[in-house]
C-alpha cells in the first residue's frame, strides 16, 4: 500500500533564495508526524508548498497516490487535506456555527431560490449541518460558544474552533501549524488531549509544526528536524531528543563527551 502523503525531492526557491532543499516526507494513514526546527527554517513554507499556496520549483507531491503538485488549494483541500494556521485564519465577525457551515460549502446544494425562500430542502440541509456541527464542537469543547462571534472567544477556544473547522471538511490528513502557540500550560495540556481524541475518533493522520518539545515528544511517532530548509535529522522521538545535531540547532554547540 502506498503512503497517504508522499513528498519527493521537493525544492523551492523564492527568487534566488533557496527556502527548501530536497525535502522528502512520507506519512502513512493515521500517523502523527512532527516538524520541528528553529525560526525561519522553512517549516511553514513546507506547509504552504504542500497545501498549494506556492507551487514547488522542483519535486513531486502525492496525496493518496494522486499527484497534487501545482493544484489550487481548494482542489487539494477537496482531496482530503485540512489545515490550521499559526496566526489563526478565522472569520472574526462570523459565529462559530457559520465556520462549520463554510466547511460544508460544497455539500450545500440549495441555490438562490432555496436560500431566499427558505425552502424545506434548504431547512433540512441547514439542520443536518447544525447537528453535525454541534457534535463536532462538543468534541473540541466549544459547543457552548456555537452562536457567538469567533472574535469574542478566548484565545484557546479560537484555536479549537479553527481545528474543528478543519476537521469539518472531513480530511484524511490534518496539518497543524503551531497548534499551541501562545497557549497557557493548562490550555497546552488540554490541546494534547484534544488532538489525541481527534486522532482516535476520526482516524486522521496529523502533520504538525511545533516549538514545544514536550508537546512534540508526547504526540508524534515520527519527527523531522528542519534547519535552513534542509532536514538534518529524522526518526522516532527518543532518537531526535538525543541527537547532538538537533540539540545544537536548538541550543547552540555543546561539548558532548
Amino acid at each position: 500500500m502506498s503512503a497517504l502523503l508522499n513528498v519527493k525531492d521537493m525544492t523551492h526557491y523564492f527568487g534566488g533564495l533557496r527556502a527548501v532543499n530536497n525535502y522528502n516526507l512520507n506519512i502513512e494513514p493515521k500517523q502523527i508526524t512532527g516538524l520541528i526546527g528553529p525560526n525561519g527554517a522553512g517549516k511553514t513554507t513546507i506547509f504552504n508548498l504542500i497545501t498549494g499556496v506556492y507551487t514547488p520549483t522542483k519535486g513531486n507531491i502525492h496525496l493518496q497516490g494522486e499527484n497534487i503538485k501545482g493544484l489550487d488549494t481548494n482542489k487539494i483541500a477537496a482531496k482530503g487535506l485540512g489545515r490550521t494556521f499559526q496566526n489563526l485564519a478565522l472569520w472574526r465577525h462570523m459565529n462559530v456555527l457559520d465556520h462549520i457551515k463554510m466547511a460544508h460549502y460544497s455539500q450545500l446544494t440549495y441555490g438562490l431560490f432555496g436560500s431566499f425562500f427558505n425552502t424545506p430542502a434548504c431547512r433540512r440541509q441547514e439542520s443536518e449541518i447544525r447537528e453535525n456541527a454541534y457534535r463536532l464542537l462538543e468534541l473540541f469543547g466549544v459547543d457552548q460558544f456555537a452562536d457567538q462571534l469567533v472574535g469574542n472567544l478566548p484565545y484557546g477556544a479560537q484555536r479549537r474552533v479553527e481545528m474543528a473547522r478543519a476537521m469539518a471538511t472531513n480530511p484524511k490528513i490534518l496539518f497543524l501549524d503551531e497548534p499551541t502557540a501562545g497557549m497557557t500550560p493548562d490550555e497546552l495540556v488540554q490541546m494534547i488531549k484534544i488532538i489525541r481524541q481527534v486522532h482516535e475518533t476520526f482516524g486522521v493522520a496529523i502533520f504538525l509544526i511545533e516549538h514545544r518539545m514536550k508537546f512534540v515528544m508526547e504526540l508524534c511517532e515520527f519527527i523531522q528536524t528542519l534547519v535552513f530548509g534542509e532536514i538534518i535529522a529524522e526518526g522516532p522521538p527518543e532518537e531526535i531528543q538525543n541527537n547532538p545535531e538537533v540539540i545544537e540547532a536548538y541550543l547552540g554547540k555543546e561539548d558532548v563527551t
Binding site: 489550487d72 481548494n74 485564519a89 472569520w91 465577525h93 462570523m94 463554510m102 460549502y105 479553527e162 478543519a166
Partner: protein
C-alpha cells in the same frame, strides 16, 4: 416664507436627495463588495456603470420596438432590468478574469492602474463604436407628476427610490443567506482559510464583480430614466463620487457604502440650496474631507492589520 412652506421645501429636497443618494448608494456597493473580497478598489467600476447603462439603453430600445404594441410597460421594464443585469454582470466577470486575476500577487498599485486603463478602454471603445453623438435613453414609463401636501414628485422618482431600496434588500439577503454570500463574507475577514474549505476563489471573485456590475447596470437604467442623456464619459464623475461614498462608509462595508451614498446625496442637494450651485461639489466634498479627517476609517470600516496600499 412661513413655517409650512419651509417644511414643504425641505421635504421636496429630501425626495431629490433620496433619488440622488440612491444612485451613489447602489454604485458604491460595487466598490465595497470587491474591496471586501479582494482588498482592491476596482477603479473601472464607474465605467462598468457606463457600459451597463449603454447595455440597458440597447435592451430598452430593442424591447420597446419589439413588444410595446402588445405588452404592458411594466413587463418591458422588468424584462429590460433582468436582461441588462445578466449581460452587464458578464462585463464584471470579464474585468476580473482579464484585468485583475493575472495581478493577484502583484502590488496593489498595478491593479489600480489596470482598473483605470480598463475604464479608458471602455470609454474609448464605446466612443469608437457609437461615435461622439449623445444618445437619449428611451423612457420606460410614462412620467406622471403628483402633488401631495404641496410637494411635487413624479412616479419615476418614487420608482427609482423604491427599486434601489429593493435591490439593497435583495443583496443583503444574498450576502446573508446564500452560500456564495457566506463565502464573500468569509473572504472579507480572512481569505487564507477560504480555499481550504474547498471554495474556489476563482469562482467567488468573478461572482463578486458580477454582482457589483449587475447592480451598477440597474442604477444605469434608473439613471437613464432620471437623466436620459448617455455619453461615454458619464461614468467618470458618478463613479468617483460613488468611490468617495465607499471610502466614507468604511472600506469593505456594504452597509456603510449604502449609508454614505445616501448621505452624499443629501449633502450635495442641501449644499446646493444654501450655496451657489457652482460651489456645490467644492463645499460638499470639503465636508466629506472633514468627516474623514476625524474618522479616517469611515463609518463602519474594519480595522485591517495592513494599511491601504494603492
Amino acid at each position: 416664507m412661513d413655517l409650512l412652506e419651509l417644511f414643504q421645501y425641505i421635504l421636496q429636497n429630501l425626495i431629490n436627495a433620496l433619488q440622488r443618494g440612491s444612485f451613489y448608494a447602489v454604485i458604491s456597493i460595487g466598490y465595497s463588495m470587491v474591496y471586501g473580497v479582494l482588498m482592491l478598489f476596482n477603479f473601472a467600476h464607474g465605467d462598468i456603470f457606463m457600459v451597463g447603462t449603454y447595455i440597458g439603453f440597447a435592451i430598452a430600445t430593442l424591447f420597446l420596438a419589439l413588444f410595446s404594441s402588445f405588452l404592458p410597460g411594466w413587463i418591458i421594464f422588468i424584462g429590460t432590468v433582468v436582461i441588462t443585469m445578466f449581460l452587464a454582470s458578464w462585463i464584471g466577470v470579464f474585468v476580473e478574469v482579464a484585468g485583475y486575476r493575472p495581478l493577484r500577487a502583484a502590488p496593489r498599485a498595478s491593479a489600480a492602474i489596470t482598473g483605470l486603463m480598463i475604464g479608458i478602454i471602455f470609454e474609448t471603445g464605446i466612443l469608437i463604436m457609437l461615435g461622439a453623438k449623445r444618445l437619449s435613453f428611451p423612457p420606460l414609463m410614462e412620467s406622471v407628476a403628483y402633488k401631495v401636501g404641496g410637494i411635487y414628485f413624479t412616479n419615476v422618482k418614487v420608482m427609482i427610490i423604491i427599486i434601489s431600496l429593493l435591490l439593497m434588500l435583495v443583496l443583503h439577503t444574498f450576502i446573508q443567506k446564500t452560500k456564495w454570500g457566506m463565502a464573500m463574507r468569509a473572504m472579507s475577514y480572512d481569505f487564507l482559510a477560504v480555499p481550504l474549505m474547498g471554495v474556489s476563489i476563482n469562482i467567488i471573485a468573478p461572482l463578486t464583480f458580477a454582482v457589483g456590475a449587475g447592480l451598477a447596470s440597474v442604477a444605469g437604467i434608473l439613471y437613464g430614466q432620471a437623466y436620459p442623456i448617455l455619453d461615454p464619459y458619464m461614468g467618470v464623475l458618478i463613479g468617483w463620487k460613488a468611490f468617495v461614498a465607499a471610502i466614507l462608509g468604511g472600506r469593505g462595508s456594504i452597509k456603510g457604502a449604502a449609508m454614505a451614498g445616501y448621505l452624499l446625496g443629501f449633502i450635495e442637494i442641501f449644499v446646493a440650496i444654501i450655496f451657489p450651485s457652482t460651489l456645490r461639489d467644492l463645499i460638499a466634498y470639503s465636508i466629506v474631507l472633514l468627516i474623514l479627517t476625524y474618522r479616517p476609517r469611515g463609518f463602519f470600516g474594519m480595522e485591517h492589520s495592513t494599511k491601504l496600499r494603492l
